[in-house]
């Protein structure tokens, strides 16, 4: 799915990781661990193409990186990317369609994440956990094979952690791949990738 070869990334003067190589196969989940400040978010942003590495390559199976970024990657960062002044329905609709979803995919995501009662509310009225569920809905609505997740479970309660675990398992069973920066273990079977101590 994705193969990273001797990646070196620095922020300012500081080299976060040097000569990092790993691969993630289709159907595989990888838990990205490391101390605060070790560079988990930076690594995810580099894979998503937001940060240009100093050296090394990020390659995707069968397709060009630009193409992968346009249609193969789902990104779920610290920020949910939701406009607080708009209704949940409008925000879900935009982000899901932008990621390539059709109406039936959006309906299915609303169903599986139990979002129906929230849709007519303004995003500002939603709790952090509800917003995360709303943001997660686009991953379910628009099928994209590689999920890059940054602390996806932080605001969620135990029930929804388990529920999202099931959705992740479904994604993996369909041949998708997941790289998630986490502090707690992922709710699915995952290989661990430790990028070491922070500063």
């Amino acid at each position: 799915m994705i193969s990273v070869t001797s990646l070196t990334v620095s922020r300012g003067e500081r080299v976060l990781f040097r000569d990092l190589s790993f691969q993630i196969a289709s159907g595989e989940a990888v838990a990205l661990t490391g101390a605060n400040g070790a560079g988990k978010t930076t690594l995810l942003r580099t894979l998503a193409g937001f940060i240009r590495p100093d050296a090394g390559t990020v390659a995707f199976a069968d397709i060009e990186p630009a193409q992968a970024r346009a249609s193969h990657i789902h990104w779920l960062g610290h920020l949910d990317g939701l406009k607080t002044g708009r209704r949940a329905r409008e925000e879900l609709d935009f982000h899901a369609r932008w990621a390539g979803a059709e109406a039936d995919g959006i309906a299915a995501a609303i169903d599986v994440l139990a979002l129906e009662p929230l849709l007519d509310l303004e995003v500002r009225k939603l709790s952090a956990g509800q917003r995360r569920r709303l943001a997660f809905a686009r991953l379910v609505a628009a099928p994209r094979p590689l999920w890059l997740l940054d602390e996806p479970f932080a605001p969620l309660d135990a029930r929804w952690r388990a529920a999202l675990g099931l959705l992740m398992q479904t994604h993996l069973d369909k041949g998708g791949a997941i790289l998630a920066a986490v502090h707690d273990p992922l709710p699915v079977a995952a290989r661990e990738l430790d990028i070491g101590a922070g500063r």
């Binding site: 937001f50 990104w75 610290h78 406009k83 409008e90 935009f94 369609r97 932008w98």
Partner: protein, 221 residues
């Protein structure tokens, strides 16, 4: 194309959400045109020769007001990352955002311009020309304004920085737009000035997507 329409509709909705930003810009525009004669003294006849110029200056200033919303909010709340991972290259995203900015804010301002210009003493017969030139000019303002908004991304006090970056770029359209009105007032054909105004818009339409997308990528890195 479908994805671009999705983005375009979102941008229009965002421009009008949270209290009708475009109406505020039009209100600001009219306030400026009322304030300038008061500041310049009681003689309306003295203002008449420069009425077109003042209207264009006020139009340029009013066009800056809502630029900060264009990219900065999307960067702050993370939406810009998601938009960058969409089906459309960032260059087209920047172009689409600029066009939506024009339709949401530029067009209402351009339609306010005749009212402002006539209030300042421009002959009523020129209302159509004022609106036409302002429609073309505000498209240029939207393009260069979007570029300025992208360049100012991530800086504190982004709004002020946008104004400082963008106002010098607004000099040509103000000169050509006010020039068109001046020529018409003096009985000359305004077409040459309008042609220069159009050329500026085309230039801005070509430069803005590439420079703007580069600035956005830089802010995300």
């Amino acid at each position: 194309m479908k994805a671009l329409m999705v983005l375009f509709r979102r941008e229009l909705a965002l421009a009008w959400s949270g209290g009708g930003g475009p109406l505020l810009a039009c209100g600001f525009f009219l306030c400026l045109t009322v304030l300038i004669p008061l500041a310049a003294g009681g003689d309306p006849a003295g203002l008449r020769p420069i009425a077109g110029g003042i209207a264009w200056l006020a139009l340029a200033l009013s066009s800056i007001l809502s630029l900060e919303r264009l990219f900065e909010r999307d960067l702050e709340d993370g939406a810009l990352d998601l938009i960058a991972l969409g089906p459309v290259p960032l260059e087209l995203v920047v172009l689409t955002k600029a066009k939506a900015q024009w339709l949401a804010v530029g067009v209402p301002l351009a339609l306010t311009a005749p009212v402002a210009a006539i209030t300042l003493g421009l002959p009523t017969s020129l209302a159509g020309l004022v609106a036409l030139s302002a429609l073309i000019g505000s498209l240029g303002f939207a393009f260069t304004g979007a570029l300025g908004a992208a360049l100012a991304l991530g800086s504190k006090r982004g709004g002020l920085l946008i104004a400082v970056v963008v106002l010098p770029l607004f000099i040509p359209p103000v000169v050509f737009g006010a020039g068109a009105l001046e020529r018409a007032v003096n009985g000359l054909d305004p077409a040459p000035a309008l042609a220069f105004l159009g050329a500026y818009v085309l230039f801005a339409a070509v430069v803005t997507p590439f420079a703007g997308a580069a600035a956005v990528r830089n802010a995300q890195g």
